[in-house]
Symmetry: C2
Subunit: 148 residues, 2 copies
DNA sequence: TCTAATCTATACGCATACGAACGATAATTG
DNA sequence: CAATTATCGTTCGTATGCGTATAGATTAGA
């Protein structure tokens, strides 16, 4: 994570960067990603882990539908899928019913990896929320979900 | 922004992706960026606008210090600075007191752009927070700032 | 003072992230 | 049924964002 230095002489002007939601979201996301990288193994990134968990939930899913379910652009899905394929965590086959589609599913290794990493995922969530009390955490998540 | 499709058959397992703070932060940040793009002009990105505002606040600042103040890696600062230079919104000169440094400041055009765009920045913030009531907004920002 | 640690800017590689465009295929609709 | 539309996966271009490495400059400490 990046050490942030405070501005000493804010010329202000009615617009303080540090009060803007976009800037705060960017920094909070930065911190969450940094915690993820520290805790998670297998060289998995947050989007890769999210995709993996979702594929497990679906069992079998097209690349496009996977992308929609985790809020990834088709172009982004493409890259994430490629990297999971390269790690042999997922496999693909043509959809017999729709020749435009490719169906994704976990490999046996992918399944065991997901199961093994889910506890770490919970640890990431806990550490990211650590600065807040349990009540605050609940309140915060509820509000955050609404501006999503 | 990306249309998110809900999983129908969550095999769950004690780990629901949609409840994880990292995933929610990623999506909220996505949405905030999308709103920014819709409203802002000049082809400025959120980090570019943040840097511009900060340079205005500082008056004159080294590239490195600018980066720290907006939570950007030195490598990232580099790219953002390059693009602002290419748009002629900022200028650079060598620091006479420290030959490692380069001092950044706004060009006249940069100054007028910042002043013109700040109202749009406020609009972005307002729209991003729109799903929440004013009291909720205040509470949310306070909590968000603490996990930053 | 002279060396080691730090700081600054830069460069490269990898991974999101999105817009735009494209070819192939499906679905719709007139 | 033919023509238009929509969907799916892919590729290209641009912009963060971080890790790592490097080189020059500066500072701190022995």
């Amino acid at each position: 994570m990046i050490e942030v230095e405070t501005t000493l002489a804010d010329t202000d002007n009615g617009y303080v960067l540090e009060d803007q939601i976009g800037h705060l979201l960017r920094r909070a996301h930065q911190r969450a990603s940094a915690i993820f990288q520290e805790i998670m193994t297998e060289g998995l990134t947050p989007p890769q882990f999210a995709a993996l968990v979702k594929i497990r939930d679906f069992g079998t899913v097209s690349q496009n539908r996977l992308g929609r379910s985790v809020a990834m652009d088709p172009a982004t899905s493409q890259g994430v899928t490629q990297r999971l394929l390269a790690k042999d965590l997922i496999k693909r086959k043509d959809d017999p019913d729709d020749r435009r589609r490719t169906l994704l599913s976990l490999t046996p290794e992918g399944e065991s990896v997901v199961e093994r990493l889910i506890p770490l995922g919970k640890q990431v969530t806990a550490e990211t929320l650590d600065p807040l009390t349990p009540e605050e955490q609940e309140k915060f998540l509820a509000l955050l979900a609404r501006i999503t």
